[in-house]
């Protein structure tokens, strides 16, 4: 189970990374194509879908790596016991909201599938196809939050905290704006 979950986060993160690289490749192809007189139809639509996929598919992985930001100021000042309670509050709340989000997103995309809504651009495909990245991303995010909630309830240090501490110790600041 542990290995499956870890692989799930890594795989979805890698897929998001591939989407990001594809955005770059597509932009370059479009720019060079324009010079050569070749027009890539609907490239703009694909770029925006890939950007969304990059954001949503990476959610679980980014969350585990402690890179979804939050205000950690007061948390760091708390003692061990109070911190534990605060983490459970934050994770519990986030899990609840992520579950709500998952429901809202699944409902919306299901309806768009049922009524066969089409994309409003040059590419005439059902809009639920690109929107699946949101569905999948939010579901993986929900799993990742529940995963951490269970770990904290069992008095284990959450993975996002471990990852953040490791990064600080290694002096790696490439991931902050």
């Amino acid at each position: 189970m542990r290995r499956f979950l870890d692989r799930l986060y890594i795989a979805s993160g890698a897929l998001a990374a591939v989407c990001l690289a594809s955005v770059c490749a597509l932009m370059l192809a479009q720019a060079f194509g324009r010079e050569a007189g070749v027009l890539i139809r609907g490239a703009d639509d694909i770029v925006s879908w890939l950007t969304a996929a990059c954001a949503f598919l990476a959610l679980g992985h980014t969350f585990r790596k402690g890179e979804l930001v939050r205000v950690g100021l007061w948390l760091d000042m708390l003692g061990a016991r109070a911190r534990w309670i605060a983490e459970i509050f934050a994770l519990g709340f986030t899990a609840l909201f992520a579950a709500y989000m998952a429901w809202a997103v699944v409902k919306f995309v299901f309806e768009s599938w049922k009524f066969n809504e089409m994309a409003q651009g040059l590419i005439q495909i059902p809009i639920w196809i690109p929107q699946m990245s949101f569905v999948v991303g939010v579901l993986i995010f929900l799993v990742a939050v529940l995963d951490e909630l269970v770990a904290v309830l069992r008095h284990r240090k959450p993975a996002y905290q471990v990852a953040e501490e490791e990064r600080r110790a290694a002096g790696d600041f490439s991931e902050t704006v």
Binding site: L28, T94, A98, Y100, M101, A104, F108, Q131, V177
Partner: protein, 437 residues
């Protein structure tokens, strides 16, 4: 319920969630859900989907992950060593000598990187031990690195500027170009302070190093050329309108890969590391932007920003008073929030107010970016302080105090662009046009 009461309820809820350590994007979205559910009859789940999807599936926003990736690639090259080697022979004659490498190095790296902490870390990694070895004053050295690192978000391309431009719906390229002159002014202010400090403390500057012949100087700087070419190229293609910001970002990635490959720092491992790092950072920013866009749509339904803007307009505040009050609020926010959150949290409220007061939105972008820069230096949450704290082992107060004079220079820069708004608006208006978005 009155608009005032409902906005206070939402604000209180947001503060509780943020203080409780709830992830910022989730906190924003939860407040938006609450606002829609309680104060309006609009179905929140439909709004949630449309805001999140509409904000993320955006062609304009595609520039953001690409600029992030470009910075991540260059962060992993040997550029920092080459920057020190290439700049140091040229700057020895100035009072303060090699201390200016910190400033200029950060300014140059800042033009290819869109991040403040990464700029600071990149330059400090090499400059700090080298300057220490030569006996430079540690305090001024740390202060100059902490402050100059923030040039990364003022000089284009800048991740913070993309976030602002998207949130405030202004042209990314215009904000980029607007940052150029203030960036130069701030660089000069920093260097000017070092000159003044060195003249006042002549005993604290190590002796002049042996002169290097011109040919040797040029040879040592050869590695900086590709980097400079890349910067000029990216800004130039955007300004002449040959490429959009997103396309320019894609060229930037290509150029960064070429530089990394040429300097021998590119292999499969660093490529993946840069791509995954860029993906995580982009995911974090895009998710916050999506949450903020949901909150904005909730705000529009409740009418809070409009009411607030009208209220502020009815007071007929002096433009300078309004700017001073906003600067104070942002300074306060900056002590506890990161730059991206600072911007997305406030735009839905502040932008209508600014528009009503007749303040240029591009100018306001530069103003806000300068305040985000200051926020990087203000403890308890200042990322550049963290960077140098980790690198030197000094405590954060020491680093914060060391950067205090440079902090003053940044405040001076804000005063300057407030008194002479043309510093920010003249260049984009001339190059891109007043009306063109």
């Amino acid at each position: 319920m009155s608009v005032l009461a409902s906005s206070l309820v939402l604000l209180a809820l947001l503060l509780v969630l943020l203080a409780g350590g709830v992830w910022i994007a989730i906190a924003l979205a939860a407040v938006a859900w609450f606002g829609l559910q309680v104060f309006t009859s609009s179905p929140p789940e439909v709004n949630l989907f449309q805001s999140f999807w509409g904000s993320s599936a955006s062609w304009t926003l595609a520039a953001l992950p690409l600029f992030v990736w470009m910075g991540e690639i260059l962060y992993r090259t040997k550029l920092s060593e080459q920057m020190f080697e290439g700049l140091s022979p040229w700057l020895g004659w100035l009072p303060g000598r090699l201390m200016h490498v910190n400033i200029l190095g950060c300014a140059i790296f800042g033009t290819v990187s869109g991040s403040s902490a990464a700029t600071c870390a990149t330059i400090a990694k090499v400059a700090l031990p080298e300057l220490k070895k030569r006996g430079y004053d540690e305090k001024t050295c740390l202060g100059s690195l902490a402050a100059a690192g923030t040039l990364g978000i003022l000089l284009p391309p800048s991740i913070i500027m993309v976030v602002y431009a998207v949130a405030a719906e202004v042209s990314i390229i215009k904000v980029f170009v607007a940052g150029l002159l203030p960036g130069v002014v701030l660089t000069l202010l920093f260097s000017g302070y070092i000159v003044a400090w060195a003249l006042l403390n002549p005993d604290k500057t190590p002796p002049l190093e042996p002169r290097v012949p011109l040919r040797e100087k040029l040879y040592r700087s050869r590695h900086l050329v590709p980097c400079l070419v890349l910067i000029v190229f990216i800004v130039w293609v955007m300004v002449i309108g040959w490429a959009t910001a997103t396309e320019a970002a894609a060229y930037g990635v290509l150029g960064a890969l070429a530089i990394a490959w040429w300097s021998g720092g590119l292999n499969r491992e660093t490529f993946w590391a840069s791509l995954m790092g860029a993906t995580r950072l982009s995911c974090m920013i895009l998710f916050i932007l999506a949450g903020a866009s949901f909150l904005s749509s909730c705000m529009a339904f409740t009418g809070i920003p409009r009411a607030l803007a009208e209220w502020v307009a009815s007071l007929q505040p002096n433009k300078y008073t309004l700017i001073a009050i906003l600067a104070g609020i942002y300074l306060l926010l900056g002590t506890a929030l990161d730059g991206v959150s600072m911007i997305v949290l406030t735009t839905s409220i502040v932008i209508p107010m600014i528009e009503k007061a007749g303040i240029d939105l591009v100018w306001f972008g530069i103003f806000i970016v300068l305040l985000v820069e200051i926020a990087e230096l203000t403890p308890p949450l200042g990322f550049n302080i963290f960077v140098l704290q980790t690198m030197t082992g000094r405590d954060s107060n020491y680093v914060a105090l060391a950067s205090l004079p440079f902090f003053a220079m940044m405040v001076l820069c804000i005063v300057l662009i407030t008194l002479f708004p043309g510093l920010a608006t003249w260049l984009p208006d001339v190059l891109i046009g007043v009306t063109k978005k």
